[in-house]
């Protein structure tokens, strides 16, 4: 479905934006009261999709525009899907039109709603230096929509040479934070008075968020360490204690000092608003925020990335064979 803009964004500085998006998507009478749990909180439970072709950052072609027309969105979507589905690297074994789940283009030009230019702020010099030293391979950007960096195919001395995603340790989209990706854009939310649990389909990743006090932990985890609280009808989750190699948006250069704030609220019976703010003063001079909807979905699959990871053995064995060949030992 086309998502209804930032209808529930809470930051007051965004009010004008919200009104504009609401006007774009307004349809029908005012919505029914939202469902609530026995303890009076908004009931966030359910299975949701966050598939969305709207890019994280606003493409240059849209200039300073916050929104586009339905015709422009349809044209962008058709063009982008052709680019994705006909990419040579996706033509090897599968039909990309079948397995990919890119969602649709919305009337918004970027998922980022702050800063107003819809783009990740320029990285600080200290972060540029740190990342240049950290990545032992040249950065390759793979557009559109991901911004993910991959090592070159030949960078494969062992499994540790490859990305956490390729190793099935931390698949890309679930984060935290969640963000739309190529496939498995599904999450199920569980809710009790004392915790919220998020089960992401990609990588069967579970994050259990305590809503009450919990002793601080010194452990750094791939998924960080989350604490939740209610601010009115909005669930706010703050996450710190990321690992240096797996901070949210580590693939964009973020550091382990990053603090992630997620806000989830219910828009209507089928839709939640999901918003996240990235605050990492060691990487970006200012926080930045993205927002998109979670829409009701019928089923969440069990993914078994590692159990079926034939790719890792194939990558390593292919590079070993190429090395043998280059040394004159392999088949001509």
């Amino acid at each position: 479905m086309r998502f209804p803009g930032a209808a529930s964004v809470s930051a007051s500085s965004l009010t004008a934006l919200v009104v504009m998006f609401s006007a774009v998507s307004a349809q029908g009478p005012s919505p029914a009261p939202i469902p609530r749990t026995p303890d009076g909180r908004p009931d966030l439970q359910g299975i949701y999709s966050f598939a969305n072709l709207t890019p994280l950052e606003r493409p240059a072609e849209f200039g300073n525009r916050l929104t586009i027309t339905p015709e422009e969105a349809a044209e962008y979507e058709a063009r982008t899907k052709v680019q994705i589905n006909e990419r040579p690297s996706l033509q090897i074994a599968y039909d990309a039109r079948v397995w990919r789940d890119d969602g649709q283009m919305s009337l918004r030009t970027s998922l980022i709603i702050d800063p107003p230019d819809g783009r990740v702020p320029p990285m600080l010099p200290e972060a540029q230096k740190r990342n240049a030293e950290r990545l032992p391979y040249p950065v390759v950007n793979r557009p559109p929509n991901s911004g993910t960096t991959f090592p070159p195919d030949s960078f494969a001395d062992g499994p540790e040479s490859r990305t956490l995603g390729e190793r099935c340790i931390l698949a890309r989209p679930p984060g935290p934070p969640m963000r739309p990706e190529s496939y498995n854009n599904t999450v199920q939310i569980f809710q009790t008075p004392n915790e919220i649990a998020l089960l992401n389909e990609m990588g069967h990743m579970v994050r259990i968020v305590p809503l009450g006090p919990r002793p601080p932990s010194t452990i750094r985890q791939y998924i960080g360490e989350s604490r939740g609280r209610w601010e009115g009808d909005t669930l706010v989750i703050e996450t710190t204690n990321f690992r240096a190699d797996a901070a949210a948006f580590a693939n964009r250069g973020a550091s382990e000092h990053l603090k992630l704030t997620e806000r989830i609220s219910r828009i209507d019976a089928d839709t939640l608003s999901y918003e996240f703010t990235i605050n990492d003063p060691h990487t970006w001079p200012r926080p930045w925020t993205a927002q998109f909807p979670l829409t009701k979905e019928p089923v969440l699959y069990e993914t078994a990335c590692h159990e079926g990871n034939y790719g890792m053995a194939n990558i390593l064995s292919a590079v070993r064979a190429a090395e043998k060949k280059a040394a004159g030992q392999g088949p001509k």
Partner: protein, 278 residues
Amino acid sequence: MDNRFGRWTVSVLVAFALGAGTVTMISGGGGASASAQSSPIPRTAGGKPDFNGIWQALGTAEWDLQEHPPRPGPLLPLGARTAVPPGPGIVVGGEIPYLPEALARKKENFDNWMVRDPTIKCFMAGTPRATYQPYPFQIVQGAGDILIAYEFADASRVIYMNRNDESPVETWMGWSRGKWEGDTLVVDVTSFNDQTWFDAAGNYHSDALHVVERYSFRDRDHLMYEATIEDPKVFSRPWRIKLPLYRRIEENARTYEFKCVEFAEEVMYGHLRKKPGH
């Protein structure tokens, strides 16, 4: 048992040996003054038994579902440290009713368990094995579907409380549909693949596996877990396992991220590494 269980395990073992009536006194039991036997079980706002919490099995079923003597561990340099401890087993009646040819494969699995046990590779352990692996798991039970999140391999299951459809695909952890029978949560688990084992003794199943689990409170800090296991390709009749699950009552009890993939990469891909000098 491993050091990571700490003093809690010891105190519960002692308490268990002394009898359930002393559990509250020794464990501290969240300040309850009544005995564990008479204290009411926790209930949700809807009146159902409230299984929310962190639970863990004790015992040696992970090593062998059946009564078993000690046996050498997989790491000779670690000597007694990794030896397999003896235990009484959790199979009701003691016998697993294998079909003759399936029994032969089970024995072959046992002889090769140090190579074949799927959990060596950090594969999801399957159901019911994830329940009695020696790691905690957390139940998140709201008003709708119930989540069980296990530490090992970050495996999890959703127990669907309101759906009748079959799983769209086969799975590692099963397709779980729950219903209440009085105060017992009964979970029907189907759509398994044939890739998981029941333990580290080679007990296995086919893709025809069907498990029916029953979760019920014994007292507020102990659950009884029963599972009926059916697989006409491997067993001549259904059979049952039964074991208690213990609430982790430490003030700082929690589950951690335990992504074991990185500990399995050497055994899975080590032969494909670049060799020094090449």
